[in-house]
């Protein structure tokens, strides 16, 4: 079973995680056309390569981003989406 590094909890087996889909920026829903929005909602690029993905560490409830190459299945890095929620920073406050 694959291992994945949770930014908060360290290296864990994949069974502790839930995949949350590709991380994609939504178009501005106020200005985009219907077809642009439909493309965003329904179309995914299946081409192998580097992807940003949502992952959720279930026992701790941590959402984070993993940068993964879907061809080699290598995860190059994982991090919390926003530094604002980085607990180590909260602690520093």
């Amino acid at each position: 079973m694959k291992l994945l590094t949770c930014p908060m909890n360290g290296i864990r087996p994949l069974s502790e995680f839930i995949f949350g889909g590709e991380y994609r920026d939504a178009p501005d829903q106020k200005t985009c056309s219907d077809s642009e929005w439909a493309a965003y909602v329904h179309n995914r690029s299946g081409a192998p390569g580097d992807k940003k993905e949502w992952w959720y560490h279930s026992p701790s409830g941590t959402w984070f981003i993993a940068e993964r190459n879907t061809l080699s299945d290598k995860v190059s890095r994982t991090y919390l989406l926003s530094a604002n929620t980085n607990p180590t920073q909260e602690q520093a406050k």
Binding site: M8, N9, P13, P87, E90, Q91
Partner: protein, 229 residues
């Protein structure tokens, strides 16, 4: 909202440990501790002491707990004279008798050990503070003792929980027997012991599973009375 006043006509009954549905048996002795009915003995003291040496499982769901989280949680704890672990996912003892777990960076669980009163002190604070959110706890909580504890974990948990891999004050949020749980290693009377917490609604399942394996490994259920000695 209107002020809360209890209806004086009705008496508060004891709560029951969430693991209790799995703890039936003629030999089980029960007592009320911290308003919760808990198993104090499952067998004779001699049998339980023998189990403790190999693999004893004790239900301590009745220990008082207090949870809080939020960006100001650490500050709030300091304001209330609570010692907190300095780094995420670690634990410390506050005033020797209250265990403080830091879950991630900004969530805390306080658990009074026998004789601890920190939860009671916090629970009477009703003022809500910005950036601090109370997390009601309804954990099932267990203590595992004995020489075969790690054998049990090799079947229930895929992480390496041996002392070489687990730091003394680490808090591990992982899966045990397929469900989310918190695991730490402590020292009690000079012996290493492991603690497990899980959602109370999984308590009976967790107890069943722990006991099934403990018995196979030569241990078994140990009542709170034996653990206290």
């Amino acid at each position: 909202m209107q002020a809360l006043t209890p209806n004086k006509a009705i008496k508060l009954d004891a709560k029951i440990s969430p693991a209790a549905p799995a703890q039936s048996g003629a030999n089980v002795k029960w007592a009320v501790m911290n308003e919760m009915q808990i198993a104090t003995a499952f067998a004779s003291a001699e049998v339980e002491q023998a189990r403790q040496k190999v693999l004893g499982v004790t239900d301590v769901s009745c220990f008082p707990r207090y949870g809080f989280k939020g960006p100001q949680a650490a500050q709030w704890a300091a304001d209330h004279e609570l010692a907190i672990p300095s780094s995420p996912n670690s634990w410390t003892l506050s005033n020797q008798k209250s265990l403080v777990l830091r879950l991630g960076g900004s969530e805390f669980v306080l658990e009074d050990q026998i004789g601890g009163i920190a939860c009671e002190k916090l629970s009477i604070i009703s003022a809500r503070v910005a950036g601090v959110y109370k997390v009601p706890r309804a954990d099932a909580a267990f203590i595992l003792t004995g020489s075969a504890v790690l054998n049990l974990f090799t079947e229930l948990c895929s992480l390496d929980l041996r002392s070489s891999a687990l730091l003394a004050n680490d808090v591990i949020m992982t899966q045990v027997a397929g469900i989310s749980a918190i695991v730490i290693r402590q020292t009690h009377n000079g012996e290493p012991i492991y603690r497990i917490w899980c959602d109370g609604t999984y308590g009976a399942y967790m107890w069943e599973t722990l006991i099934e394996i403990a018995v196979e490994l030569g241990g078994g259920a140990v009542g709170l009375a034996s653990y206290q000695q």
